[in-house]
Amino acid sequence: MAIFNLKKRLIECKIVYYGPGRCGKTTNLEYIFAQYKKQVKGEMVSINTEGDRTLFFDFLPMGLGQIRGCDVRVQLYTVPGQVKYSSTRKLVLRGVDGVVFVADSLEVRREKNMASLKDLQANLKEYGKSIFKVPLVMQYNKRDLADQGIPLMPIKLMERDLNRQLKVPSFEGSAVTGKGVGITLKECLKSTLKALQKEFKWAQ
């Protein structure tokens, strides 16, 4: 849940990068940390285990400056994607304001994407949130691997698998090169702030 401090004119919101294991959630945050220095307001914290797999979460604080008279701060998190860390994923999702779902474009990860989206839906439900109502943006990551001859799913198929019902904004991405990272975050911030504006009526 976002914090809205009327006295200080401060809004702090939480955006979580969700998706199956090894889909590129941490790589998204690493790119943001490296490229958006002006907005980044501290160190990126990663708690990893064997093979650089996220164990608990990654955390990156950002400041967007003043928007309609309010100082807007954003906390970016990633969840651990591995199936066995389901309770940690749920913990990190608590109080979320917006979600970026990072899907893996590799053909061999098709089912994992769908399972992870289902997991997101179930975890949001436990916090009384509907996946249809929470600000959500999709990123179809690893598109660069097509250049190396690796079988990727066509965007049309990914849209059908993951976004047929949700109909949320979606972007092709390559977190290692940075392609699509910025626009994905911007779109998620836009819809999150729009939802918060509606809730808190802070910009009226």
């Binding site: 914090i3 309770s87 608590r94 590799l106």
Partner: protein
């Protein structure tokens, strides 16, 4: 595509999966490449190719073992612990003490039990959250199998005058029930002067149910390490569909029948990882029953009841 090109493409794909950390996908591709090589007669350097692929597969096996054995809750640096405390206390703007309690409980949820116990102990002087802090201290000890320490701490609190008798009675009942659920019958002295109404036993039906709920953490999923069958040594995670006290019900799809066959009613499962919003912990359980669902949308699936034996 000629043979050389096809094999090169398969190996390149496998290597990319490996570099992405997709171990089982890389494994599958290397196996397919090995099968492909085997299927070609009179292939030059056939054996050396197979050896090279076999080496790659062995390396993947080693990586998988390291990943499987990776710690679920390593001790973090103080800085990381502070961050967890700060990020996962949600009552910051509501009540300072509640936020401090939430922060300490968050540490326990992330497996940072020593620091959690330390911080919870510092909260004991706070009247409004004393009982919750005390219960969470005991919970940390019980989760880390330090039952003796939990009992010792209760005795220490009993001998001091920090707790009001009614508060200590709530703590005593909590610990007593938790010990009983571990199959331990350890008498705990009641505080002198506790008001009867403070004791949950005075409200048998409702209160007992509340305590019973509290005794067991909500388990969201469990990881079972199989001791036999094709998945021997591997941990498989199952969602918990329903929980009543220490009884967990899982629905296992008919597609995974092979796995169900390795879990027979009455069988003891010695290595179970329990995932709950409070903590991740290891324990054991017994397969209480296994039923094939005969009607409805889950027809053909299996319902497995597992009784938590110890944790």
């Amino acid at each position: 595509m000629d043979i050389k090109q096809r094999l090169k493409s398969m190996l390149q794909e496998a290597e990319i999966y490996r570099s992405q950390g997709l171990i089982s996908e890389a494994y599958g591709k290397y196996k397919a490449a090995a099968d492909f090589v085997n299927s070609i007669e009179n292939l030059k350097n056939k054996q050396s190719l197979l050896n090279a692929i076999s080496d790659k597969i062995s390396a993947l096996d080693d990586t998988q073992k390291k990943v499987d054995k990776g710690p679920t809750s390593p001790e973090l640096s103080k800085k990381a612990q502070d961050l967890i405390k700060n990020l996962f206390s949600f009552s910051e703007n509501v009540d300072e003490d509640s936020a401090a309690l939430e922060g300490a409980v968050a540490l326990a949820k992330f497996g940072q039990f020593d620091r959690a116990i330390n911080d919870l102990t510092e909260l004991l002087p706070k009247e409004g959250i004393r009982v919750e802090a005390a219960k969470n201290i005991l919970r940390c000890h019980l989760t880390t199998n330090s039952t003796e320490e939990a009992v010792n701490i209760y005795h220490q609190w009993h001998s001091e005058d920090l707790f009001q008798p009614n508060q200590l009675e709530l703590v005593r009942v909590y610990l007593s029930d938790a010990l009983q659920n571990k199959g331990l019958d350890i008498p705990l002295p009641s505080p002198v002067g506790a008001d009867d109404s403070a004791a949950p036993k005075s409200e048998p039906s409702v209160q007992a149910a509340q305590e019973s709920e509290e005794e067991f953490l909500d388990i969201t999923s469990i990881g079972i390490t199989f001791e036999s069958g094709p998945r021997k040594g591997k941990m498989v995670e199952f969602d918990v569909n329903f929980q009543s006290g220490n009884m967990l019900s899982l629905i296992i799809s008919k597609q995974e029948q092979e796995m169900v066959e390795d879990l027979k009613a009455g069988m003891e499962v010695k290595d179970i990882q329990f995932y709950s919003p409070i903590a991740i912990f290891n324990g054991a359980g017994v397969v209480a029953s296994k039923t094939k669902i005969k009607s409805g949308p889950k027809q053909g699936d299996y319902c497995l009841d597992i009784r938590i034996k110890s944790s």
